[in-house]
Amino acid sequence: MPDEQYALEARGIVKIFGNHVALDAVDFGLRAGEVHALLGENGAGKSTLIKILTGAYQPDGGQVLADGAPIHLDNPQQAQTHGIGTVYQEVNLLPNRSVAENLFLGHQPTRFGLVDRRKMERESRGILRRYGLEIDPSSELGAYSVAVQQIVAIARAVELSGKVLILDEPTASLDRNEVERLFEIIRDLKARGLAVVFITHFLDQVFAVADRVTILRNGKLIETRALDAMSRTDVVRLMLGKDVAFSGATGVEDARPMGDVLLDYSQYGRKRSVHPFNLTIHKGEVIGVAGLLGSGRTEMARIMFGADAADEGEVSIAGTRTTIARPTDAIRHGFGFCPEDRKAEGIFGDLSVRENIIIALQGKLGWFSALNRDEQMEIAGRFGESMDIRAASLDMPIKLLSGGNQQKVILSRWLATDPAFLILDEPTRGIDVGAHAEIVRTINRLRDEGLALVVISSELDEVVAYSTRIVVMRDREMVAELNGENINPGVIVQAIANHRDEELA
């Protein structure tokens, strides 16, 4: 299409980090009034392209055009003046400032040169209501959950976007209702003639809102196409460059003989956090944990690992009563924990990939048996390969890896300690289909090797695929334990929804 006019366009963009080509002559055009999905595996270069389109990075080649005219963006602020609003993948906004200020930072309403707080808060309240959030805009953003912060980030970007709205994995921490609401807003913006870029690893969501799709692989443009001519398999094939048996849902084989009892929780709980629960976990078992966001899933994982201390009930390991009041207690007993909020709790941003992998193992070995560099390299290399971690080098700081690859590193960290019991909180969030299948396969393998796992996930299809048992959380309480036949999405939804059907899509 020779003289097609794009609202925002990237032409021949090249971006090189060190000696790694993150983007290789990528073209990307956005039409007004379309929702454009940008897809690709972890590390394909999606976030990098977004950062170039919004002035956060400078390209090493190629140019950015707005309405057909070349523009030069030195920083994200200039992108805002061009009417481009962005939710970056890793942006956490400012937890130390109020919700209203996070929404308006940089363009607060002023009166006599001073920020008009009252007006700002009034308008914030109106904006948030559109997203179904009834929160106090003058309160600190950091006091709210990841999901609320994500919505605030989206709301901010929408307010800033006069022409283009860019969303880099905005739905990773949202529940179904919130995703639905976001889609309504996207459709509304589209009707008003905005161009929307949408990056996600959830193909359902792509097919639900997008009109066109651009696929990147290893920094190269593979294809831009209208979505209605494509099937899901086409998309996956283009992303991976090969046919994969892509089905998380392998179904569980028939009831296997259970292993010995590893852990036994009785009336275990923590006031104002998790109601006391009973749970017996056997070796070679995967317990799936389902429930809405905020239902106490994460809190349960935290007290199991000692990240928060339980204040009632007891736990025994292989029949012996013990206390797990701190993570070090848990690690000593061979526990591992991949937290949900990997940015804040999981990674050591400035340490290398290698160090991030061996750190838990080193913690377990103690101060006096340091692993030497060769041993570290050997271990890190092994996991780098088996988990398919895409990094230019294992010595680069982990913060430079793409989001999904960071997740794989954290998983490797705990696997390296050769754990007996592993707790995974949303292990597949932000992970591409290839790695997704890999992680599901890993979970199955670990189970077969006799590990006990607790896996928290919002993806019902996924939990069903690997769990031998599923517990359902609702309002901080364990409300159901599902076995055998009952392990299917329908039953889980019912268990979650009980008494509050109307809240579920």
Binding site: A56, N75, P76, Q77, A79, Q80, T86, Y88, E90, V91, N92, L93, L94, P95, N96, R97, E101, L105, G106, Q108, T110, G113, L114, V115, R117, S139, E140, G142, A143, R156, R270, R272, S273, E299, R302, D308
Partner: protein, 322 residues
């Protein structure tokens, strides 16, 4: 109550209690005379501390302020006493010099990505060295303008006197509070201290804000130097040694988090007053060595840092549970 307010309230309460105790022992400490002197004697520290508040909220530190005070004092004295300038012209020039000095430090912090601690340490040696190169001795200033300013006082009932420099400090605090809490620049400063990466992706002009913060700090330090010169009627290259540490203490005691992102200009005011109170108490007592001031300030600092830790740790726990 929002958690960032809690340290401020704690400071205010401790100040009130400490003052009440002091007054119980020495009733004459509760007089307009003492209060007026409070303001006058701490004016230069207060003005410096306002700038330091901005720097610390932005996640930085400025070790050069004491040296800038000394340098400004010498520059002003030399311009007036040796070169025959009018004091106002000397003030204007020294403020401009300090502003560009601060801008230079800000540029280095932002573009060279050198830690603020190092940059401002270098700035401290530069300014102190520069002052000593101009002169090694104390240069007295005798100018009618100085006499005129020191006669500008408001008499309070009860024998107290509100001096020009005391009022100037109060004005700086008021303007500082407005800028910090009610302007876009202020919100950028907090943003930078909260998370510089997020701030830059949200469109905060990081370079301009960083440079601005160090300019504010150096300029206010120069203003403090002018005040110091009015207060002592002399310029001395080794004046105000260690004032940067007093200013940092006042800021931290005032509830500003040393790691940036949280704090109040008003808190710094109370912090300065609390330091002044300790000093006045020791003077009133008469039998205590003045080094007790340092010990008490040390203890206070420690107390406040522990307090902030507890407050922030406790509320982080609360969030996870909610």
């Amino acid at each position: 109550m929002s958690r960032s307010l809690r340290p401020l309230v704690a400071t205010a309460v401790i100040f009130a209690i400490a003052y009440a105790l002091a007054v119980m022992q020495f009733p004459s400490m509760f007089s307009t005379r003492v209060l007026g002197n409070f303001l006058t004697d701490n004016a230069f520290l207060g003005i410096t501390a306002v700038g330091m508040t901005f720097v610390i909220i932005s996640g930085g530190i400025d070790l050069s302020v004491g040296a800038v005070i000394g340098f400004t004092g010498v520059l002003v004295a030399v311009l007036i006493a040796w070169a025959g300038w009018h004091p106002l012209a000397a003030f204007a020039l020294s403020l401009a010099v300090a502003a560009s000095f601060g801008a230079g430090m800000g540029l280095a912090v932002h573009y060279l990505q050198v830690p603020a601690f190092i940059v401002t340490l270098a700035g401290m040696f530069l300014a102190r060295g520069g002052a000593s190169v101009i002169t090694q001795d104390s240069v007295p200033v005798n100018h009618e303008f100085y006499d005129w300013i020191s006669d500008l006082i408001i008499r309070l009932p009860g024998g107290g006197r509100l001096s020009f420099i005391g009022l100037l400090m109060v004005a700086v605090f008021i303007v500082g509070a407005l800028v910090a809490h009610r302007t876009r620049f202020g919100s950028y400063v907090y943003a930078l201290g909260g998370n510089p990466v997020s701030a830059s992706l949200m469109g905060v002009p990081v370079a301009r804000t960083t440079i601005g913060v160090y300019m504010v700090s150096s300029t206010l330090a120069a203003l403090a130097g002018i005040v110091f010169s009015l207060y002592t009627s002399a310029g001395y290259p080794l004046a105000a040694v260690g004032v940067e540490l007093d200013a940092i203490s006042a800021v931290v005691i005032g509830g500003t988090l040393l790691t940036g992102g949280y704090g109040f200009v008003l808190g710094t005011f109370i912090g300065v007053m609390l330091l002044g109170l300790v000093q006045t108490y020791i003077i009133f007592d008469g039998s205590l060595s003045s080094w007790w001031t340092k010990i008490v300030i040390g203890a206070l600092l420690f107390l406040f840092i522990v307090l902030q830790r507890l407050i922030f740790a406790a509320s982080a726990q609360g969030e996870k549970a909610s």
